[in-house]
């Protein structure tokens, strides 16, 4: 992009450090993906092995360990056995369901609010918009203590409601959708009104389809934020049944850090937590790049 270029060889020489940087960025993924399938002695071998010598699934499920029996010191359990009471799959279900519900409901609610504010202004709608806008200035840390108290007083500790409800009203999504809805001509909405369509109908069958790029753009940061949410679940969930994947990973790390036999299950768990996002990223790269760039404007 910058006029004439220097000699190709020189260009590659200049690129070399950045290629090295790219390799070091990918090493944690490689390390995670290979170590999840290595045996424990191989993981803790020094110097480390760069490929898998003995392929094993024991880090996920170790058939040698007998459930309920006292463990010998040289035995270790796979990720799916460590949480025998609930099962690791339960955390997957929890994370997927909570993330999906949060993305869907918060986007629908926010787009509805943005539609009404833009296409059906009423006395006070401007003030309401300013309040929503102002609330974006307040960092979430400010609300975390009162929200914990509210959830506790509602008796929602250890419940899915606690994970879901506090994150549903997203002001930055309203702001984002408002910009997109301003571009929709009033005539289109008025024509639908003349044809007798109600507000809900217009929003659902006219506005939402036109908002598709905006919906995709905002869904991505919301999804990532929810999938990686750690502090809030840490506060409101302390039983096994309602844990999300990040919490389960945290618990594993707490239990296994000083135990070399924990390395395998830890890597397996890390792989299980990050794999869905890697796959979704590879499938929807373009949307991710645009979505995160758009979501950045929330500030």
């Amino acid at each position: 992009m910058v006029g004439e270029r220097p000699h190709p060889l020189l260009l590659w020489l200049l690129r070399l450090p950045f290629l090295a940087l790219a390799v070091s960025v990918m090493i944690p993924y490689y390390w995670m993906a290979t170590n999840a399938f290595k045996t424990i002695p191989e993981i803790i071998r020094n110097p480390p092995t760069w490929w898998i010598h003995t392929f094993t699934l024991d880090n996920f499920f170790n058939p040698d360990t007998v459930p309920g029996a006292a463990r010998r010191s040289d035995e270790f359990q796979g990720v799916f056995q460590i949480f025998a009471n609930t099962g690791f799959a339960q955390f997957y279900v929890n994370s997927v369901v909570i993330t999906a519900l949060t993305v869907t409901i918060s986007l629908l609610l926010a787009s509805l609010v943005a539609y009404v504010l833009v296409k059906h202004p009423f006395p006070g709608s401007q003030a309401l918009f300013l309040v929503l806008l102002g609330s974006m200035m307040i960092p979430w840390e400010v609300t975390i203590i009162p929200n914990f108290l509210t959830v506790r007083d509602l008796g929602w500790i250890n419940s899915y409601q606690a994970l879901l409800f506090p994150g549903l009203a997203k002001a930055f999504a309203v702001f984002f959708f408002r910009q997109a809805i301003l571009a929709i001509p009033d005539d289109l909405v008025d024509a639908a009104r003349i044809d007798g369509a109600g507000e809900l109908r217009i929003w659902w069958s006219i506005v939402l389809p036109m908002l598709r790029p905006a919906l995709a753009a905002i869904a991505i940061p919301v999804m990532l934020g929810e999938w990686n949410n750690y502090l809030w679940p840490l506060l409101v969930i302390n039983d096994d049944a309602h844990q999300t994947l990040p919490l389960a990973l945290g618990k594993l790390a707490g239990n296994l850090t000083y135990d070399p036999r924990g390395a395998g299950p830890m890597m397996a768990a890390s792989l299980l937590v990050s794999l869905p996002m890697v796959i979704i990223f590879l499938l929807f790269q373009r949307q991710f790049v645009q979505g995160l760039a758009a979501g950045a404007t929330k500030g």
Binding site: V113, L128, E141, F165, G198
Partner: protein, 319 residues
């Protein structure tokens, strides 16, 4: 039905007392549906955003253990915090972390955008590599980092050091390495994201400016310092400030690397951030009033950062 501008409704909203009942009825007839549609969002917003903000402001002036009633103590929480060595340590850690993370990730992001900003397949693959951590990093990868930096002899970095006949370093067990390790981790996650911002910014610079400069005989270095950088200033500021704000609010990596069941913040609080300290105060020591005050101090600092950004951005507009 005609388009309804907000003005005609205003007289109805402001009548004197006797006519207000009629006004309310007319208001509801005109806007009842709209208000019904807003209701679910507004209820959630009021309960989980608006009310918490007010309640937290009130709690910050009280002594509250989450069990007995809050006692109003005025500004005492704020005074205590400002004199509290742990708060100062957390603030210092967070400030160093914020500066290190934002500067390194901004500079590296810009360099990556300049090197791999093209349209070729190779550039696109490289960008995907660097961008991956901002999508699939964070929570899933942090335990990998814990093992990379592990002081046991199977930690990757120490294995490499031993292989090079260097002594093993206890990265996670020595206070002086805590913040640098966290910065490495944050830059790993952030530089690709910043790179994408810069790629967008670079593409928006009109090509003919460079051609004109080339005709005038400007060297590549001159073109970078005189054209690219000044025209990129809004993006540069945006990236720098959003990186700073994000780093200021970091909880997870500090907590995950340096806290265990008995201790928060690691050795000598070397891994204590402001938000981790907030968590420690509020949810481990049940000093909800003090924690709320800390949250509001955080708000003031972030507000100042944003205001600074807007001010610098405005100077830029005048240019």
């Amino acid at each position: 039905m005609t388009k309804s501008p907000p003005t005609p409704a205003l007289p109805a909203a402001r009548p004197a007392a006797p006519r207000s009942a009629v006004g309310v009825r007319r208001f509801l007839r005109q806007h009842g549906t709209a208000l019904t549609l807003l209701a679910p969002f507004l209820l959630l917003f009021a309960v989980f955003t608006l009310w918490p903000v007010l309640r937290s402001l009130y709690l910050s002036f009280t002594d509250y253990d989450a069990i007995s009633d809050p006692k109003v103590v005025g500004l005492q929480n704020y005074q205590t915090l400002l004199g509290d060595p742990r708060f100062r340590k957390a603030l210092a850690n967070t400030a160093v972390y914020m500066l290190g993370t934002s500067l390194c990730s901004t500079v590296l992001g810009l360099m990556l955008a300049l090197v791999f900003g093209g349209q070729r397949l190779f550039d696109q693959i490289m960008r995907a590599c660097f961008f991956l951590p901002s999508v699939a990093g964070g929570v899933g990868l942090i335990s990998v980092f814990k093992w990379l930096f592990s002081s046991e002899d199977f930690g990757l970095i120490n294995s490499i050091r031993l292989w090079l006949h260097l002594d093993a370093v206890r990265f996670l067990g020595m206070p002086k390495y805590a913040v640098p390790v966290l910065i490495v981790l944050a830059v790993w996650g952030l530089m690709g994201y910043n790179m994408i911002m810069f790629v967008a910014g670079l593409r928006s610079i009109p090509h003919d400016i460079y051609e004109a400069a080339a005709i005038d005989g400007a060297t590549p270095a001159q073109r970078f310092w005189r054209i690219t950088l000044p025209l990129l200033r809004p993006v540069l500021l945006f990236v720098l400030v959003t990186s700073m704000i994000g780093a200021f609010q970091e909880f997870f990596s500090f907590y995950f690397l340096f806290s265990d069941t008995s201790n928060v913040g690691g050795i000598l609080d070397s891994g204590l951030s402001l938000v981790v300290y907030l968590y420690d105060l509020g949810f481990r020591h049940l000093q909800m009033g003090m924690a709320s005050a800390l949250a509001w101090i955080l708000f003031i600092m972030l507000f100042l950062l944003t205001a600074l950004n807007l001010k610098l951005g405005r100077i830029n507009d005048i240019d």
